[in-house]
């Protein structure tokens, strides 16, 4: 570590508390881009700040109503621009139950050969799933429910990779213990086909076990797990090595 990095490291605490100048903030953010260790330290400082901030207070009466009222007008907010916008199109009626960051084409998951996947967003899931035991119990319950739906994911060679169980409330569970562990610079990413549109359901990490996701009120017809570079992708999911399966009743 050179002197400049040591100097920037010394700023990480103050940075996490917004207690640095704009110039220092920019320098630290450049440093964070290339230093996972520094990113981890900032995340830890912010979690401590979260604890400090706990006040036990309630939000004032009526505040939610004002926010909810503003949601209507915020629906007219400018759409995303740049790279995201280039692969996404939006439904005009943003009051619909879905934002419909829609796909560029239909999913051809049966062959796991989709070359282009347009998605809603990259959302990392599993952050609350560190305790696997309750999740295993939930999966067992969901499997026992005749209203649940399941998918068995295999790759192009027919090798089994993961099971998916989606209960009647839209809680989905991916049981990915059979997926080979990836190098640390890669991740598995979960995709679903909803109403003919392909969306990202989450980034699973390099070694997923049981991962929780939500399908809301929508019905997923197919599920795919792709192998992507760390962090996942917002489009053009990697078909090579992907696992796919149709969702069917238990």
């Amino acid at each position: 570590m050179n002197a400049e990095e040591i100097e920037l490291d010394e700023l990480l605490g103050a940075y996490a508390l917004d207690a640095v100048s704009d110039e220092e903030r920019r320098a630290v953010e450049q440093h964070l881009l290339i230093s996972p260790r520094a990113r981890q330290e900032v995340a830890e400082h912010r979690e401590v700040a979260t604890m400090l901030a706990w006040s036990g207070m309630s939000a004032p009466d009526g505040l939610w109503d004002r926010i909810a009222a503003n949601l209507d007008s915020s629906l007219e907010a400018p759409l995303p621009t740049g790279q995201l916008a280039s692969v996404l199109s939006f439904d005009d009626n943003r009051r619909a139950t879905s934002r419909l960051w829609s796909s560029a084409g239909s999913w051809v998951a049966a062959t796991a050969a989709a070359a282009v996947i347009a998605v809603l967003a990259v959302t990392v899931i599993g952050g609350d799933a560190t305790d696997q035991q309750p999740l295993a119990a939930a999966v067992s319950d969901a499997r026992a429910d005749r209203d649940s739906r399941v998918a068995r994911l295999t790759n192009a060679d027919g090798s089994f990779g993961a099971d998916v169980v989606i209960d009647q409330d839209g809680h989905g569970y991916l049981v990915g213990e059979a997926l080979p562990t990836l190098p640390s610079d890669q991740t598995y990413q979960l995709w679903g086909v909803i109403g003919g549109q392909v969306i990202s359901l989450g980034v699973l990490g390099a070694n997923p076990e049981i991962e929780l996701f939500s399908t809301g009120e929508e019905t997923i017809s197919q599920v795919v797990v792709t192998i992507e570079a760390e962090g996942g992708v917002v489009s053009n999911g990697n078909a090579e090595g992907a696992y796919a399966g149709d969702v069917a009743p238990v």
Partner: protein, 204 residues
């Protein structure tokens, strides 16, 4: 888990969302499910408001910050990255940053300094605020008390006072490098103290 007390100020939330993880809620937000935002609000608005209120000491401006934070989440749910921390941590970081921006405007600063001067005259900076009387707050306060006084003052002034470390150094009459280190080491020590007392951020 500590629940907010007081009258119900929460939105109408669908029962089935109460069991959904924060990450799941953000995914639902990305699909314009307003009741998901309602559930996020129910879980975290109190903490967000509490922090903004404490920094700004102004109810109306704190409410504006809360609105901004939740509308920002509604409009840009993809900016929340669960790998970088919890949703509460993300929302509070947003609230803190916005509050500090407000505070650092010249007019706000002048008003606050006048008020701080009055508070000092009335007995000084007091950690024992009524809002800190819940169990978790007690753990946090205990951990804070175990810090070196210089570390504690630096963390408090930077976080709740909205000062830069240079302003803290000036206020405390300490070298800037010393204050910078005290903030960083103080946060590390706090994390250790809280962990050893069995408190994790998930409890907040």
């Amino acid at each position: 888990m500590i629940q907010n007390s007081g009258r119900s100020v929460v939105p109408d939330v669908r029962d089935d969302l109460t069991a959904v993880s924060d990450s799941g809620l953000v995914l639902a937000l990305a699909r314009f499910q307003q009741h998901a935002l309602g559930e996020v609000y129910r879980r975290h608005a109190g903490a967000v408001f509490g922090l903004a209120k404490r920094i700004l000491s102004d109810q109306a401006r704190a409410e504006e910050v809360v609105q901004e934070v939740f509308l920002r989440l509604w409009n840009h749910p993809e900016r929340f990255d669960p790998e970088r921390g919890s949703l509460r941590s993300y929302l509070l970081a947003q609230a803190h940053s916005r509050s500090v921006d407000v505070l650092r405007s010249e007019a706000s600063r002048r008003k606050r300094e006048e008020r701080d001067a009055r508070e000092t005259a009335e007995g000084g900076y007091d950690l024992d605020r009524a809002v800190w009387d819940l169990a978790l707050a007690e753990h946090v306060r205990t951990a804070m008390e175990k810090l070196h006084p210089g570390e504690r003052a630096a963390v408090e002034l930077a976080y709740f006072g909205g000062r830069t470390y240079r302003e803290v150094a000036d206020e405390l009459g300490e070298p800037e490098g010393t204050v910078k280190s005290r903030i960083r080491n103080g946060l590390k020590r706090l994390r250790g103290e809280l962990a050893s007392s069995g408190v994790s951020v998930g409890d907040a």
